[in-house]
């Protein structure tokens, strides 16, 4: 005689179950801030033909507040992204796997160099 199996439903709040899942959800939601800043840049460049409206958009207080909120999330995106690169970039030297620290570290180094170069160009 086949007895009835019990199927446990999956709660909609599954991502609140532990800290790792909460951090995962925050990581995924950083994409909203990435897109948000991209849209801000889009609006900014739409005024690329008029210095006045360009400056007004650039210095608009709402825009600044949004960006200041977005900045930690975008940085969180960068950090989680670079930390995950060793999972996708698998390199072997003979029997030895190239250390995940080297892979991630190279990205952090690139990040620093690129940021510095952009600052130099802009200032």
């Amino acid at each position: 005689m086949q007895s009835k199996e019990y199927v446990r439903p999956m709660p909609a709040t599954w991502w609140l179950h532990n800290i790792h899942l909460k951090l995962f959800m925050i990581r995924e939601l950083t994409s909203l801030f990435v897109a948000g800043y991209a849209v801000f840049l889009l609006v900014l460049i739409s005024h690329g033909d008029d210095l006045k409206t360009f400056t007004d958009t650039l210095l608009c207080p709402t825009a600044i507040i949004f960006q200041l909120i977005a900045l930690p999330f975008v940085v969180f995106h960068s950090v989680t992204w670079f930390n995950l690169t060793p999972k996708a970039i698998v390199l072997f030297r003979g029997e030895e796997r190239v250390s995940p620290r080297v892979i991630a570290g190279t990205h952090y180094f690139l990040w620093a160099v690129i940021s510095l170069l952009i600052l130099i160009v802009v200032l």
Partner: protein, 252 residues
């Protein structure tokens, strides 16, 4: 007076009740006991009706996986002293139907192992007289980590994507597919490709990473899946840019 610790154990007796419930048991607290020892104490001395799977009690057979305080664990590797003096909640592995008490139905996982052809399929059949397959340490290193899987299914219990979509191939099946695809003796990458690179294969995964966190053998199935995504993407672009070549996976 000996110390005791409380276990709150999920009970489901389909012949008697429609709904599951929790039953509390007070078991002796011993420094070197694991949750499996406590469960066996319950079965031997307190309640012989409790059903659960176990075998080697040393973390190599993969039989004793259960949820311990909401986290998938091998109960032979979960020490009471890490929870004492608080009660320990023991439940069957999440995302699987419960047959009885702590025993799950894992037919779905076995089905997926078959789908992914989780065994060695040599490039060509060689008679034994031709000798062994030769493999260098470097070739072994390519897949060794993924060969450590003991099929304990903790990763399936931990994976929210599998919970939301039971058709998802899942961490262990994909990692094992990779284990054989990356094995220099194997020649069945094309046969596995349809399942691995389908939308219920690697592309369902959103890289939550819980599978890797809970794996007791450090297989890193999340890593195997991301590796597979990279490989599959490279092949996709090659067949897109050079469709004339019969490049491996998607020749049909």
């Amino acid at each position: 007076m000996d110390k005791t610790i409380t276990l709150e154990v999920f009970r489901y007796l389909p012949d008697q009740e429609n709904q599951p419930r929790f039953q509390s048991y007070a078991v002796p607290y011993r420094e070197d006991w694991v949750v499996l020892d406590a469960l066996n104490y319950i079965k031997d001395y307190l309640d012989g009706t409790l059903s659960f799977r176990w075998s080697c009690r040393m973390g190599v057979c993969g039989s004793c996986g259960m949820m311990v305080n909401g986290d998938p664990k091998l109960t032979c590797a979960a020490f009471l002293k890490d929870y004492y003096p608080n009660p320990i909640r023991v439940e069957p592995l999440t995302n699987f139907p419960v047959i009885r008490d702590l025993v799950i139905n894992f037919d779905d996982f076995l089905h997926k192992l078959k789908e992914i052809k989780a065994w060695l399929i040599p490039k060509e059949e060689k008679p034994v007289s031709t000798g062994e397959y030769l493999q260098t340490p470097a070739q072994l290193a390519q897949y060794k980590q993924y060969s450590m899987c003991i099929n304990c299914m903790l990763c399936y219990a931990a994976c929210p994507v599998y919970g939301l979509e039971p058709k998802f191939l899942g961490p262990a099946a994909i990692a094992l597919g990779q284990r054989y695809n990356l094995d220099s003796r194997d020649g069945a990458k094309d046969q596995r490709a349809d399942f691995i690179s389908s939308s219920e294969g690697i592309w369902e995964c959103t890289f939550i990473g819980e599978c890797t966190r809970v794996c007791p053998k450090h297989v890193d199935p999340a890593g195997a899946i991301q590796q597979a995504k990279v490989i599959n993407t490279q092949e996709w672009w090659l067949s897109f840019l050079m469709p004339w070549g019969k490049r491996g996976t998607h020749a049909k």
